[in-house]
């Protein structure tokens, strides 16, 4: 294995962000838990002995906060990994998982499910199908239009299809029952982990793990794929097939996240960028760094979402408030910042 010596501090910093996010998410809230109590409960669980803390604390840690913490960490990691993959594939640090219509396709699927009063699993399934269908449509249209720069065509097609899907979401919201359905749609579209239970974790974990595995396995080929198309092909990479595999894996990971928690923007744009400044552009280090940072970041945001106000603040709103100034700063300092390593 070839590894640059300078990557260890960056990965360590990313890991520290995750640990900090976990500690904050477990201890802060309407029922505060001290770090000592948290430590005792975890040690007791690992050792199989009884913890010397009240049962209410154990219940808060394992049953109330546990599933939500796991979901936040998984979704943060998933969105960051998907963003990392899309940015590399499109050779553009300013793109994100929303770029191929994955998020808007999943959103349309979910509001359709709510509109037809389907069950939770059907809504999740529709969101998932919507995300994949949107990306497939974008990909097919994008490759039918033969151009010198297929990546640019793909990105523009994604923007156009995303706008169309957004109009579809708007139409269904307009038709929806304003007392029962519309609040549910609005709540879901803005992004929230408030309703996550243990039963949501398996349908989230399985696709996220599968997609991540594919991307990690292809990490070196993804380095080469971030070169101009013809160069990558001349280096012996079958770019067409690999592009489909990477897009499918990143979309799978995005759709699973959107199906669980609604649309949480910006994580997939901002986190890969920070990870790149920490460990450089090599995907072997970038993917783990982005996953750790994304998990820690969303844990912090979700803790803020459930504690900052008497009612829960939607995640999508918080990430947008943080993401927009970041994006403007990114645009302003564009050439300098993303080449730092």
């Amino acid at each position: 294995m070839v590894r640059s010596r300078s990557s260890a501090p960056g990965l360590l910093a990313a890991f520290a962000v995750l640990v900090a996010g976990l500690l904050v998410a477990f201890t802060v809230g309407r029922y505060p838990v001290s770090l000592g109590e948290l430590f005792h409960v975890i040690v007791a669980k690992l050792g199989g002995s009884a913890a010397g803390v009240p049962p209410a604390v154990q219940s808060v840690i394992w049953e109330v906060r546990g599933p939500r913490v796991v979901a936040a960490a998984l979704i943060g990691a998933a969105l960051a990994i998907a963003g990392t993959a899309f940015q590399g594939l499109f050779r553009n640090p300013l793109v994100s998982p929303d770029i191929l219509g994955a998020s808007s396709g999943a959103a349309l699927g979910a509001v359709l499910g709510i509109y037809f009063s389907l069950g939770v699993f059907a809504i999740q399934g529709l969101a998932f199908a919507g995300g994949l269908a949107a990306v497939a449509a974008v990909y097919l249209i994008g490759s039918a239009v033969r151009a010198r720069d297929p990546v640019l065509v793909l990105v523009l097609t994604g923007v156009v299809i995303g706008a169309l899907l957004g109009a579809g979401v708007g139409l269904i919201k307009y038709l929806a029952d304003p007392y029962n359905q519309l609040p549910a749609m609005t709540f879901w579209l803005l992004g929230s982990l408030a309703a996550v239970s243990v039963f949501d974790l398996v349908p989230l974990l399985a696709p996220v793990a599968l997609g991540t595995l594919v991307l990690v396995a292809l990490r070196w080929r993804m380095n080469v794929m971030s070169l101009p198309e013809e160069e990558a092909r001349a280096l012996g990479v079958p770019t067409g097939a690999l592009r489909i595999a990477i897009i499918a894996a990143a979309t799978l990971v995005t759709s699973a996240s959107v199906a669980t928690a609604g649309i949480i923007g910006w994580v997939g744009l901002v986190v890969p960028h920070i990870a790149r400044t920490l460990v450089g552009p090599d995907f072997a280090r970038l993917i783990p760094a982005a996953a750790l940072l994304g998990a820690g970041f969303l844990l912090a945001i979700d803790t803020l979402a459930r504690t900052a106000a008497p009612v829960e603040i939607p995640l999508g709103i918080l990430t947008a408030f943080l993401g927009t100034p970041f994006f403007i700063w990114l645009l302003a300092s564009v050439s300098k910042t993303w080449s730092a390593s």
Partner: protein, 255 residues
């Protein structure tokens, strides 16, 4: 080994750039591709690299059609040195050179220690070992061209194909790259490069292939084919020839 095109029609989807082209390159020789802008140099280059399918005719590598090669197999025989460009992401120079080893590994593999040793030798060969840890985006254009040459060598190919390797380089680096092209042929590689400067062809190439408006206008050893009249016909513009006082090789000037 021979890389050759037979009765090639070259071009893009619905637009043919050139027809009836025969071209051959053997290992150990340098062939320069000269001609006016838009004459089909780059298109022919990409067709011979297998990046563009010929509209008609056939590209052959060894005793097989190039179209029958898998991309990995082809990349172990032909390396491509594009015009040096600013990359999007700041990979280190070493990582860029290691990318040349991609075709020698499997789909899911990372470069091995053996690959790293080959990359290190390639960096040594072009005198840029000290740039190993530097971001590719922060080195000079000449250094980038050398890094891309090192990447091509790390591919361990039989043929190296370069697209305007001297464009946008300063005078000293132009000479440097031309010497490296000669050295590549000396180490047994077949080298094909495009250039806008007939002097560079004269300096570094064994043979020249003159392409105008997608048609071959002349081909042969540089000393016989690169004459003032030939070049004036090729570019459709007057050319001056300056000869050395003691009868050595001359140089061409536009105008």
């Amino acid at each position: 080994m021979i890389l050759s095109g037979h009765r090639l029609a070259i071009g893009y989807k619905d637009h043919v750039v050139g027809r009836g082209l025969d071209i051959a390159l053997a290992t150990g020789e340098v062939l320069a591709l000269l001609g006016p802008n838009g004459g089909g140099k780059t298109t022919l280059l990409k067709t011979l690299l297998g990046l563009l399918a010929p509209k008609a005719g056939e590209v052959r590598l060894g005793d097989r059609s190039l179209a029958g090669y898998a991309s990995r197999e082809r990349a172990r025989l032909i390396a491509y040195v594009p015009q040096s460009h600013a990359a999007t992401f700041a990979f280190t120079v070493e990582t860029v050179v290691l990318m040349g080893r991609t075709a020698h590994g499997s789909l899911f593999s990372r470069p091995s220690a053996g690959d790293a040793a080959i990359a290190a030798r390639a960096l040594e060969r072009f005198g840029i070992a000290h740039l190993r840890e530097r971001p590719y985006t922060e080195i000079s254009g000449g250094e980038r061209q050398l890094a891309l040459l090192a990447r091509a060598i790390a591919q361990e190919p039989q043929f190296v194909v370069l697209d305007e390797p001297t464009a946008s380089l300063d005078f000293g680096n132009q000479g440097r790259v031309l010497r490296e092209i000669r050295a590549l042929a000396a180490s047994g590689h077949g080298v094909l490069f495009t250039t806008h400067d007939p002097n560079h062809a004269m300096h570094a190439a064994d043979r020249a292939y003159l392409l105008r408006a997608g048609a071959l206008v002349g081909e042969g050893a540089v000393h016989t084919i690169l004459e003032r009249e030939q070049l004036e016909a090729l570019y459709g513009a007057p050319v001056q020839c300056i000869a050395d006082r003691d009868g050595g090789p001359g140089a061409f000037l536009p105008g």
